[in-house]
Point group: C3
Chain length 293, copies 3
C-alpha cells in the first residue's frame, strides 16, 4: 500500500531545500525540474536531482522527479538521467492525449532495463492541465499501467482557458470534478494541485477539503508547512476506520463460517464495500508504519 | 404514454409492504431484491416477488423488479423467475459499461420468448452509480432498446468516489448533471435516486426540485409518503399545459390549412416544440386516466 | 486577427434594422433568418439578406448570416443565396453531431467555387443547444476547418432539457462549462448566447462576466445597446496587455540573443505563454484598428 496523500515539490536547483527534504513528512518528495526551475538552470537542476534521489531514498523518502514536458525537448534526457532503482516515479505536465503518455512509457521501458529494475517500476503521475487534457482525461488516466495517479493543475488549466483563477471559484469546478471521476473510473489516485497561498493554513484546509469532497485522495504541497494539513485532510477519519474494522471482521467471520455474503446493521455488505474497507485499513497500517519509522 | 414520475421501492422480503403497495399511487412499484433485502433472504424475496408481481399488476399497478447486480451471480436466476406478462420491467445496478447492459438484454430475450411475450416487452432501468458508469453514461443509456430511463444513484456513487454525501452539496453536481444530459441525448428518462430523509417533506421537495431543474423527469421513493410530492414535482405545470394546448391547436389549424409552419406570439414554433407539446398533453391525459382509474 | 467578441443579431426580415446595423460597433453583424423571422417571412428575409450583406460589408462590417437548421429544409437554399465574396461566415443551429456540420461543409464547398472565392473562406459558427450536441460537443467543434467558434444556446438547450431557465442558475452550468472546454480544446472561440434582458445592463454585465470566467471569449447581442458592454467584457484587460508586452519583448530579445527560452519575474515563459501574449497583442491591435477605422 503506497500512500499518495501529500506530494511536496522541492525545486531541483536548490541544494539546501533538497537537504531539508530529507526530513519531510510528505508521502512523496517530488523533485521539480519544471516550473520552479528557471530555464538557464535546467541542466544543473537535473544533475542535482540525480545526486539527491538516492540520498532522499536512503533517508526513507519516496522520491519522484517532475521532468519538463515533452514539447520542451528536455524530457528524454532528464528521464535518462534520473531513472534508477531509488526513483519511485516521475511526473510530467502539459500532455494532451493518451498518446503523449504512451511516449513517456516508451522512453521509460529501456531505461528501466538499463538500470536493472523490473519493467513498470517507475510510476507516472501526469498533470491534467489543459482543456484538451480534460477532454481526454479518462483515456489519459488509463494510458499506461505505470500511472498511479493523475494531478489536476488549476494554474495551468486556467491559463490555458484564459480565465482568472479565483481561490474557490466556479471556473475550475467542471474540470476538477471531471478529473476526479476519470481517476476513480480508471482506478488511479486523483491528486489536487497545490494551494499557492502557503501562509494561509485555513485557506489550504478549505481548498483541500473541497478537493476531498470531489473525490481527490491527495494533494501537492509547495511548502513544507502544508504537508501536515494535507496528510490530515486525506487520512482516513476515525469513524470510517471503526466501520472498516467491523466490515473486515464480519467478512472474515462469514468466510470462516462458509457464508459468502453478510450484512451489518441490516445493510448488505457487498464485495466492493469489503475491498474498500480492506484498502482503508491497509492505508491506516501504512500511515502507522510511516509514523513509527 | 407510460408515466415515469414516481417509482417507489418496496422491499421484496416484506409481504405486508407488498400488500400495502397494491394501493400505492406511484407510477411504478419497484419490488426490490437488492439493497433493501439482507443477503440471507434473497431467495425468499425472489419467491415473494414472483407471487406479488401478478397481484400488483392485477390491482392496476405498473410493476417492476430490481434484481441484484450481475457480479452477485444472482441476476440471471432472478430474471428467469420474475419475467412474466405482468412484469413491466426490471432495474439493475452497479453496471459500468454498455456491455453490462447488453448482458441483461441477452438474458431477457429468451425469457420473453419462453413467457410468450413480445421481444422487448420487459423494459430496463439501469442505475448509474459508479465513476466508471459516469464516464460511459451516454453509451449505457443507449445500450439497448429496452432502456426507458436511467437512474442516478447518489448513495452508491458517493461511496464509489469515497466522498461523504451531503444533502445538497457539490459532490454530486457534476455526475448528476451528466446523467440528465446523457438521458435526454439518448431519448430516455432521467430518474433521480431516492431522498433518504423520508420524514422530511420539505427536504424532499427541495431535492426533487433540484433534480427537475437539471432535467430529471422522475424520482424514486423509499416511502409511500414521498409519492405525492414526487408526482407533483414531476407533473406538467398549469402554465406549461396551457401553452402546449395553444401550440397543438395552432399546429392542427396550420396543418388543416395546408401550412407547414407556424408562429405563436410572433415566435416560430418548430417541429420539436410541437412534439414536446404533444408529449406533455399525452402525459396530462395519462395522469388524468390514472386519477380517474 | 479576426475579432469575435460581440456578434449582434439583426432580424433578416427588418430592412430598417439592417440599415441601422451599418453603424453597429459589433465585431460581427449576424443577419438572422432563423428564430427572429416568422415562418411566413423566411423567403423575403433571405432576399433581404442577399441584398444587405454587400452593403454591410461595404460599410466595414464583418457580416455573417444565420440560416435555418438542416431539418427545416431551408438551409441549402439559403446558403446558396447568401454565399458571396462579402459574406464572412454562416451560423447554423440545432445540429447534434459532427456529421451535421460536415453536411454544412459539403453544401458550402461548391458554393464557394461558384462564387469564385477560395475554399474555406466562409466560416461556420454552429450552435450547441441540445443535450445530444453537449454529448458530442468536442467532435462538433472539430468537425471542419471552417469552424471559428461554437455558440452555446441556453434558451434552446433548456427547452430541449425541459427545464426552466433562470438567469444565473445551476441548470446550465454543466453544459456551458463543457462547451467552453471543448472550444478551447478544439482551438476555436467559445461564444455565449444572448442575454435576453436587453434593458438590464447590470444583468448583462454579470452574465457576460460569468461566461468569460468559464472561458468564453465572446457573446451574442440581441440589441445594439448590448454591444459596448460585451466588447468591454471580452476585450483584453490593461494588466494582461502590459504583461503580454513584457513577454513578447523578452521573447524577441531572447531570440535575438540566440536563447531559446526565458523567464520573467523568475517564472519560466514557455512557448504557449508567448503565443498567447502575441495573440492578445494582435487582438489589441485589431481593436485599435477597428476604433480608428
Amino acid at each position: 500500500m503506497e500512500l499518495l496523500r501529500s506530494l511536496v515539490f522541492v525545486p531541483g536547483n536548490r541544494a539546501n531545500m533538497l537537504a531539508r527534504a530529507l526530513g519531510f513528512g510528505a508521502d512523496v518528495v517530488m523533485v521539480d525540474l519544471e516550473d520552479s526551475v528557471p530555464p538557464g538552470e535546467k541542466a544543473a537542476a537535473c544533475e542535482l536531482a540525480v545526486a539527491w534521489v538516492p540520498r532522499l531514498s536512503a533517508a526513507g523518502r519516496r522520491v519522484m522527479v517532475r521532468v519538463n514536458s515533452l514539447d520542451t525537448g528536455l524530457a528524454a534526457g532528464e528521464l535518462a538521467a534520473v531513472v534508477s532503482p531509488q526513483l519511485a516515479g516521475v511526473s510530467i505536465g502539459k500532455g494532451n492525449t493518451a498518446w503523449d503518455l504512451q511516449q513517456v512509457d516508451r522512453l521509460l521501458a529501456p531505461l528501466e532495463s538499463n538500470a536493472g529494475i523490473p519493467p513498470g517500476s517507475v510510476k507516472v503521475i501526469p498533470w491534467i492541465e489543459t482543456a484538451m487534457a480534460i477532454v481526454h482525461v479518462y483515456e489519459m488516466a488509463r494510458a499506461s499501467q505505470r500511472i498511479v495517479g493523475i494531478a489536476f493543475g488549476a494554474e495551468d488549466y486556467t491559463n490555458d482557458m484564459g480565465v482568472t483563477r479565483s481561490d474557490f471559484g466556479a471556473e475550475c469546478y467542471y474540470a476538477r470534478a471531471a478529473v476526479a471521476v476519470a481517476a476513480r473510473a480508471a482506478g488511479v489516485a486523483a491528486l489536487d494541485g497545490p494551494f499557492v497561498g502557503f501562509r494561509d493554513p485555513d485557506g489550504l484546509r478549505t481548498d483541500a477539503g473541497a478537493a476531498r469532497q470531489l473525490g481527490y485522495t491527495g494533494k501537492f504541497a509547495i511548502h513544507p508547512a502544508q504537508i501536515d494539513i494535507i496528510n490530515e485532510t486525506f487520512s482516513p477519519q476515525p469513524d470510517d476506520v471503526a466501520y472498516a474494522r467491523r466490515v473486515v471482521a464480519a467478512w472474515d467471520a462469514a468466510a470462516a463460517a462458509g457464508r459468502g455474503s453478510l450484512s451489518i446493521d441490516g445493510r448488505m455488505v457487498d464485495v466492493p464495500v469489503v475491498k474498500r474497507a480492506q484498502n482503508l485499513l491497509a492505508q491506516v497500517a501504512a500511515i502507522a508504519g510511516r509514523t513509527a519509522g
